[in-house]
Amino acid sequence: MTTPKLELQGVSKAFDDKPVLREVDLVVAPHEVVCLIGSSGSGKSTMLKCVNLLVPIDEGSVLLDGADITASGVNANQVREEMGIVFQAFNLFPHMTVLDNITLSPRKVHGTRKAQAEDKARELLEGFGLSDKVDEYPDRLSGGEQQRVAVIRALATEPELMLFDEVTSALDPELVAEVLNVIRALKDDGMTMVIATHEMGFARDVADQVCFLDQGRILEHGPPRQIFSSPSEARTEQFLQRIIDAGRL
């Protein structure tokens, strides 16, 4: 068996004695797409931030390519270069143009030359149909365009793992598809991804594995067909029923 791209072993995290993650185990194979579903506050977002080391964990460990990245002495900045993360909102730096947003990390962290970083950024923008936005400031873009630029920015450092934290939750409904299509394109390219989402239809389409989080635990996980059509846990069923009642599945 190949080494998993990402592995969580008994990860726990509490904020001020309030447990947010309880002994979470997860294995993500290379090129696998994992969707995290569950109601708000179930720990999806915290889990992604723990993987990115933006939130220190209390117990357990996180392994990237088999190496423990939560061990003491690990350089968090180096680890973060290996993965990209996109958040729900406020991703882009409003005082920089699209081009500067994308080239900041390659230039300052990776020491790429300016011209080279910009060529690469333009290439990526063109690939995602955003060539005409190169010199725009973020507040001139639609929410969907902003999120697509945020994805491109995360891709600019050539990560091998992408994390998405409810990237469409703050968007107008008609802008959701354009962002989800970007993620679909990444799947086609074989990107390993962990995606926290409320878009159940998307999760069903794109995921190789769906995890249902409830009160900080992964209550149930499996292929989307199994989770969505015949969940074994009552809580999962309740959650999905509420989504169906809301007309979102």
Binding site: K49, N52, L54, R80, G84, H95, S105, H110, A150, R153
Partner: protein, 290 residues
């Protein structure tokens, strides 16, 4: 989402002439302007008339608004005021840089930076708790009295240093408020891209923070521009000191008025500019959809 009311029609923010007004028709506007104009004229005529016809006016004029005295003292005061301006410019530049460094240190996270953070907090608390004038006296008279080899003894140098230290503590807090006003996601985004804490502050947080606190910084400018006069307690011959010397010699206070006029000449435009900038900035923010 995009159906915002055009901001211009709401009647603008608070203006120089009063609180925000409700939108209204053109005719009503002209009428209101006319009423404001007439009532202002009447008001000024009444007040000025009352002052000029009062029994005390001749004495007041002789003591404070004496033209011959004014002509006599003005060159000295202008020379002193030029020194005030130079002190202000030098101090302000140093304050803006020094206080930003303090604020950045205070904003560092993580247990490793605790000693530095604590130092910044102690500095800010101590300095803000001491009257500026006391700090000026302490450094301006105290340090030269030590006669340490290689340490400057000039009153001007130490007076200015005291002002810089004092204002830096306040300005650091202004910057810190700005740094904290930048959304947490910005810091997270920056860190997630592999930027170090310092890089995140420098390239992402601080540029936005400064933009947010420019009005508060400009207010600090106005304040410092006047407070540089405090070094007069050390005998530095700036504008107020010159006026003081003249008053002591002649028992005439026209020099104070001359100095006041010079200070006003600089501080009022800066205050107006601050207001204008703040309003423009707010309108710009309001016109951007969330």
């Amino acid at each position: 989402m995009s159906d915002q009311t055009p901001i211009e029609e709401v009647g603008g923010g608070p203006s120089l002439f009063g609180p925000p007004r409700a939108p209204r028709g053109r005719e009503e506007g002209t009428r209101a302007a006319l009423i404001a104009f007439v009532s202002t004229i009447v008001f000024v005529v009444v007040v000025v008339g009352a002052i000029l016809t009062s029994d005390a006016w001749p004495a007041v004029q002789k003591q404070f608004f004496n033209w011959e005295r004014f002509v006599e003292v003005f060159p000295d005061i202008l020379g002193g005021f030029w020194l005030d301006i130079k002190m202000f410019l030098v101090a302000e530049v140093i304050i803006l840089v020094f206080s930003l460094v303090i604020a950045m240190i205070r904003s560092l996270r993580g247990p490793a930076f605790f000693p530095l953070r604590a130092l910044a907090v102690i500095f800010i608390d101590l300095i803000r708790g001491i009257p500026v004038i006391l700090l000026i006296l302490l450094l301006g008279f105290g340090i030269p009295a030590l006669q340490l080899p290689g340490v400057p003894t000039g009153a001007l140098f130490w007076g200015l240093t005291a002002l810089i230290i004092s204002y830096s503590a306040y300005t650091a807090e202004v910057y810190r408020a700005g740094i904290e006003s930048v959304h947490e996601s910005q810091r997270m985004s920056a860190r997630s891209l592999g930027l170090t804490q310092g890089q995140a502050l420098r390239y992402v947080i601080v540029p936005q923070a400064i933009r947010n606190v420019i009005p508060a910084l400009l207010n600090g400018f106005v304040s410092l521009q006047k407070d540089v006069a405090l070094v007069l307690v050390l005998g530095v011959r700036e504008a107020v000191r010159e006026a003081d010397i003249y008053a002591a010699k002649t028992f005439n206070y026209t020099g104070y008025i001359a100095a006041a006029l010079l200070f006003l000449l600089v501080s009022v435009p800066v205050a107006r500019f601050t207001d204008w900038y703040t309003n423009r900035d707010r309108r710009k923010k309001q016109s951007v959809g969330i």
